[in-house]
């Protein structure tokens, strides 16, 4: 029986044996799904902020930022036998939930998260196979470790897979 493994906000986790990673209601945050197909090891990281610059995070705080969470997730996946050179990514989130909201430091946080995630993955040489990012709605994200399929569910919009 496959099980759901819930990933909270600023959280990350790994799954194998057909277990499904799920993170609920992404808004401006981003869910980064990583998958090594040959060993069927999946990982999901739910980041809130683009960069750890100026924060000096440690421990679980590393899971909050795109630039520190993705390497942490890779480490966990490698412990389960994944190989960095085979890992591919699918990402979702980075919405602008309140498009008219004028708060300079925050108005484009979704977009800044998207840019930071793409940049971090590029530096790690992890290709992005699918993106469901931006726009103005929330997304629940499921990531199936049996086949690397990412399913997105949105309120009032239904669900679809990548």
């Amino acid at each position: 029986m496959s099980q759901n493994v819930v990933v909270g906000i600023s959280d990350l986790n790994v799954a194998k044996n057909g277990d499904v990673l799920v993170t609920y209601a992404l808004g401006s945050c981003i869910g980064i799904c990583l998958y090594d197909e040959s060993v069927k090891v999946a990982g999901l990281s739910h980041i809130m902020l683009p960069t750890s610059e100026g924060f000096n995070p440690s421990g679980k705080e590393l899971w909050k930022f795109a630039d520190t969470a993705i390497p942490e997730l890779l480490k966990k996946m490698e412990q389960l036998g994944a190989n960095k050179f085979r890992i591919k990514a699918k990402i979702a989130g980075g919405a602008q939930m309140f498009p008219g909201f004028n708060n300079t430091s925050l108005s484009s946080i979704g977009e800044r998260n998207i840019v930071a995630v793409r940049e971090t993955l590029k530096q790690l040489r992890i290709p992005i196979l699918a993106e469901d990012v931006g726009k103005d709605y929330g997304r629940t994200q499921f990531f199936d470790s049996s086949n690397g399929q990412m399913k997105i569910k949105a309120a009032l919009r239904g669900e679809w897979v990548y």
Binding site: A25, M97, F101, G138, A155, L156
Partner: protein, 205 residues
């Protein structure tokens, strides 16, 4: 440091409760005149919670509701958000516009009406802070988002991720038979919270 995580002593927390009480009183009378009928309100519950507890208090991450967000500027900076569950959205729209709502896919007029309600309610609380402290606080125009709780809260969550792990959460219960409960989330900058407490003569020593 006392204010690092919105950690308040008992007197400071009491002051916050008083702000909540006065704000809720103002909110009830504003709603009562908007809906043209009396509004019974229980004593609001005020808590300082982290993001996950707030989400759970609002029906879990995937519960769909309406959030109206405003930013605070002036002597106090931060955010205030008014959250309305579906039954209360229905009640408000049927009273204000005579509209029956089937789902939360609302037209522009209904959206403006909700924003206006959010603005009035937020002002009730902000005025309570201003009255008690003498601080001058301005509220930005309201922005509306109807979506899953977790997503609606992502902006304030990200905002507080920079400054604190806690949010001030005020839960009002209006008219029990209508199930018309609503919630207010107040996120002042840590410095602003300090300023509020100082203005009340409750600065930490």
């Amino acid at each position: 440091m006392a204010f690092e995580n919105y950690e308040l002593n008992e007197m400071q927390f009491d002051a916050l409760k008083e702000i909540g009480n006065i704000g809720s009183g103002h909110a009830a009378s504003a709603l009562s005149s908007m809906l043209d009928r009396p509004i019974d309100m229980n004593v609001p519950q005020i808590n300082i919670l982290d993001y996950n507890d707030v989400v759970n208090n609002l029906g879990g991450p995937e519960n769909v509701l309406a959030g109206i967000l405003m930013s605070l500027t002036g002597d106090v900076s931060g955010m205030i958000m008014f959250l309305i569950h579906k039954p209360f959205v229905e009640l408000l729209l049927s009273n204000l516009l005579g509209m029956e709502v089937e789902d939360l896919d609302l037209d522009e007029m209904s959206q403006s009406a909700l924003k206006e309600v959010g603005n009035i309610i937020a002002a009730s609380y902000v005025n309570a802070i201003a009255e008690l402290t003498g601080l001058s606080i301005e509220i930005s125009p309201p922005e509306l988002c109807i979506d899953m709780v977790g997503s609606v809260l992502s902006l304030p969550a990200i905002y507080y991720a920079n400054i604190s792990d806690k949010i001030i959460f005020i839960k009002d219960e209006l008219d029990k038979e209508d199930a018309a409960s609503s919630q207010i989330i107040l996120i002042p900058d840590v410095d602003s919270l300090k300023k509020i407490m100082e203005s009340l003569g409750l600065a930490d020593i």
